[in-house]
């Protein structure tokens, strides 16, 4: 069958959504609406426009936070990757941050910066930054030695080696670090809305839970997961298209 992968994907979607529908009809819990009810709620929210104003609100800290993390994170990562001194000083901080449950900082951020946008942007930043920094630094450090030697033997200056060899060679890994950073940023943005103050999509989730409008609650959660997954998927495809063959062309293949 030529469309076997597509067919199986559809089949697996039907199985999961079907199970959701059946579980909702039994129902397994008073708080478990059917798939169809949830989708109806989703369409209603979209038609009313509530969904779009909510997303405008939710995406603000996410976009700001990711932009700040990207700018700072890549710069810092390049620096750490290029200088042993900088690596010694900064890398441990980000290695600990990478392993640590940084979400625990949220109550502190709220005390320091209040419950406004600043705190939320901070939450996105602390979630997104470590992976961006560490990926960038690792990519720079792992530039193939023979490429750098090639540059030197053909008389490249240090600046040319960085601009023409190290950065292009590192860019696929930097890009995937960005993608992982955005993925963590999504977690942070939603966490901020659920924990700090309910705004945007977090507001729809919290509000519909408090009035027991479970279909709307599930619809909002479904939509944010869908948005994150689709967006990250598109980024991954872009990554593959942009850097096609970039990791090949060495002797190893």
């Amino acid at each position: 069958m030529p469309n076997r992968p597509l067919f199986l994907k559809l089949l697996s979607a039907v199985i999961v959504f079907g199970a959701w529908e059946i579980a909702g009809r039994i129902p397994v819990s008073y708080a478990f609406p059917t798939f169809i009810e949830s989708m109806q709620a989703l369409f209603r929210l979209a038609l009313e426009g509530t969904l779009f104003t909510a997303y405008a609100e939710t995406l603000k800290p996410l976009v700001l936070g990711v932009a700040i993390s990207a700018a700072f994170g890549i710069t810092l990562g390049l620096w750490i990757g290029l200088s042993a001194r900088f690596e010694w000083l900064f890398a441990p901080v980000f290695i600990v941050m990478q392993a640590a449950p940084l979400a625990a900082l949220i109550p502190l951020l709220v005390m320091a910066y209040g419950i406004g946008l600043t705190s939320k942007v901070f939450v996105v930043c602390i979630m997104a930054m470590p992976v961006i920094v560490l990926n960038t630094a690792g990519a720079v450090r792992n530039t193939p030695v023979s490429l750098k030697e090639m540059g030197r033997s053909f008389l490249a200056s240090d600046r040319e080696i960085i601009l023409k060899i190290i950065i292009p060679a590192a860019s696929p890994v930097i890009f995937s670090g960005l993608r992982l950073g955005i993925s963590a940023g999504f977690i942070g943005a939603i966490l901020a809305e659920l924990k700090i103050t309910p705004t945007g999509v977090g507001d729809i989730i919290s509000y519909s839970r408090s009035v027991a409008d479970y279909p709307s609650m599930y619809a909002a959660i479904f939509s944010i997961i869908l948005l994150a997954v689709v967006f990250l998927n598109l980024l991954e495809r872009l990554e593959n298209a942009l850097f096609e063959g970039n990791n090949r062309g060495y002797v190893s293949d």
Partner: protein, 266 residues
């Protein structure tokens, strides 16, 4: 086996003037002696092979000549000048090709010229000439991952030729290339040595390859690394490339080298 010093090494045939001289070079990595007091002359316009078992320091020596590594003691003299860094007089061909995977063939070949600040149209014209020379016409806009291993190394060779350096340094250039392509390469290399009037320094671990392509073979032995012997095959060079491999002198030299290296095989 004779352990003669390089300076008094036996050589058959007259040695022309040297393009590159390695004088009393040592290289230590901490307590490990990679090279110890090594001296060697590389005659101008000829191909010299550095041949030896793995770990004998032949690639280290090549990278010191290239200026990529600093010797712990001793010096490298090229045309009367001591060199300590890479320079326009030398070009390197890498074992793993070291092509930029994100750049097309023509940009890869022109990369050395790009780094020297040659204008785009000019460097691409030069690159195109050398791409044609190594037989890759039509692949100018391909990318390294679209080429076979042999073709990639031709790109690496074209890049080294296009900067018009007097000395070409080749670090096991054919070791990652399949056997048929390697033979073709060896024939092309002989052609290059005859036509280009450059000095070639060629690192290999293949005895047959060294004897086939070299005007002079320096045999390096490990622990501590030293030049044990210098051999100058001369008899079969003008009998045509297709006859080399059955020439008695070729076979004798291969046997002789194997006899002195066999105790180093693991």
């Amino acid at each position: 086996m004779s352990q003669t010093d390089a300076a008094t090494a036996p050589s058959s045939g007259p040695a022309p003037d040297s393009a590159v001289s390695v004088r009393n070079v040592s290289k230590n990595y901490g307590p490990v002696e990679a090279l110890k007091n090594l001296s060697l002359e590389f005659p101008r316009g000829e191909l010299t092979s550095l041949l030896g078992p793995s770990g004998c320091g032949k690639t280290t020596l090549l990278k010191i000549i290239a200026g990529l590594l600093q010797p712990s003691a001793g010096e490298i003299v090229i045309d009367g000048n001591t060199v300590t860094a890479p320079g326009p007089d030398r070009a390197f061909v890498f074992q793993d090709f070291a092509l930029l995977p994100w750049a097309s063939v023509i940009r890869n070949v022109a990369f050395g010229l790009e780094l020297r600040g040659v204008a785009r149209s000019e460097r691409e014209a030069i690159a195109e000439k050398y791409i044609a020379n190594v037989g890759l016409s039509g692949f100018e806009n391909s990318y390294p991952h679209q080429l076979s291993g042999g073709m990639r190394q031709r790109v690496g060779l074209a890049r080294a030729l296009s900067v018009d350096a007097q000395v070409l340094l080749l670090d096991e250039p054919f070791s990652a290339v399949d056997e048929q392509n390697r033979r073709k390469f060896q024939e092309d290399l002989l052609e290059l040595v005859r036509n280009e009037n450059k000095t070639f320094i060629f690192v290999t671990h293949s005895i047959e390859e060294a004897v086939y392509v070299s005007d002079q073979i320096a045999i390096l032995l490990p622990r501590p690394s030293r030049v044990s012997e210098i051999i100058r095959p001369s008899g079969f060079r003008n009998k045509g490339i297709e006859n080399i491999r059955r020439d008695p002198e070729y076979l004798d030299i291969v046997d002789e080298i194997w006899a002195s290296l066999r105790s180093y095989a693991e």
